[in-house]
């Protein structure tokens, strides 16, 4: 199945499974995405291998970065009329709170989608959406390969 077909299948079912299947690291982190009240929410299931600090315990900052970057890319693929895999140019992650060993959710908002570059802001939260554990803003190259 091509990327285009996978994105179409995901959109048709409201579930990112077909897309996650071709992203091994996303699978390894326990990522999946579903549409809830017209919003694409990316979930990172709690897995013991996602722990960065067992003393607290807290999730590894890298897993939160990967969740935020993935949620932004999924949002772009979801919104796109022509499917091009966005390439990350830069991402800045702000770590706001220590992330507990539970499921984590993320939602990306496209701030600006230009011809070449898209700007996306993303929030990740756990029990309380009003208390995000990490946020990110990122720029992606969204042109077809030249």
């Amino acid at each position: 199945m091509t990327l285009v077909a996978r994105v179409a299948a995901a959109k048709a079912t409201g579930n990112l499974g077909p897309l996650i299947d071709v992203i091994p690291y996303a699978k390894f982190l326990g990522l999946n995405g579903t549409v809830v009240d017209d919003e694409l929410i990316t979930t990172m299931a709690f897995l013991p291998t996602n722990i960065g600090n067992p003393a607290l315990p807290a999730l590894h900052g890298g897993t939160l970065g990967a969740l935020l970057e993935s949620a932004a890319i999924f949002q772009l693929l979801w919104a796109a009329e022509t499917v091009v895999l966005p390439k990350t140019i830069t991402i800045t992650v702000d770590y706001l709170r220590s992330a507990a060993p539970v499921d984590t959710y993320a939602r990306g908002v496209i701030v600006r989608h230009g011809r070449r570059v898209a700007n996306v802001s993303v929030e990740a939260w756990q029990d309380d959406r009003a208390r995000p554990v990490a946020t990110a803003h990122a720029h992606f190259l969204v042109m077809a390969d030249s």
């Binding site: 091994p24 690291y25 067992p54 890298g62 970057e69 800045t92 992650v93 702000d94 770590y95």
Partner: protein, 157 residues
């Protein structure tokens, strides 16, 4: 002091760091991250190429998130290396610039330096690369909160 003794000491130190690291950070273990160097000046980590870390099965290139985890871990270690005594730290922010695509099938190394430590915050720079730190795949700038108050290190905060 002979070079052999130095090498022996360095090898033992490195093995000790890796044992500590393996026991303490499950996600680093899951990624297969290894410490190659860790000192007051810089830290060098290796992320071995592995199938479960791929971001795009068509190209076989590792996922940006795995590189984020590597740069975060290596930058944090550089802070530990620069601190006069061990204390808990937490990443405050991390900016990553992706400079060029990585090559499929190749390990990724990260080299981080902690270039300033204040009472509350430490500042880091890092690069991710295959063979040459001067030809990076990604570069990162990070800040880390220091959990306990430090004595005066390198000036005012």
């Amino acid at each position: 002091m002979s070079t052999d003794d130095d090498d022996q000491a360095r090898r033992e130190r490195r093995a000790q760091w890796n044992r500590m690291f393996a026991a303490n950070v499950p996600h680093n273990v899951a990624l297969g991250i290894e410490i190659l160097e860790l000192g007051a000046e810089h830290a060098v980590f290796r992320l071995p190429y592995a199938a479960h870390l791929i971001g795009n099965v068509e190209t076989g290139v590792l996922h940006g998130g795995a590189i984020t985890a590597l740069l975060d871990a290596c930058s944090g270690a550089a802070v530990f290396g620069a601190l006069p005594k061990p204390q808990p730290i937490a990443t405050l922010d991390l900016r990553i610039d992706y400079l060029r695509p990585g090559a499929a099938g190749k390990d990724i190394l990260a080299r981080a330096t902690c270039y300033r430590v204040t009472r509350n915050v430490a500042f880091t720079r890092a690069v991710a690369y295959h063979d040459d730190p001067d030809d990076p795949i990604a570069s990162a700038a990070g800040t880390f909160m220091l959990a306990t108050k430090l004595g005066k290190v390198g000036g005012t905060p």
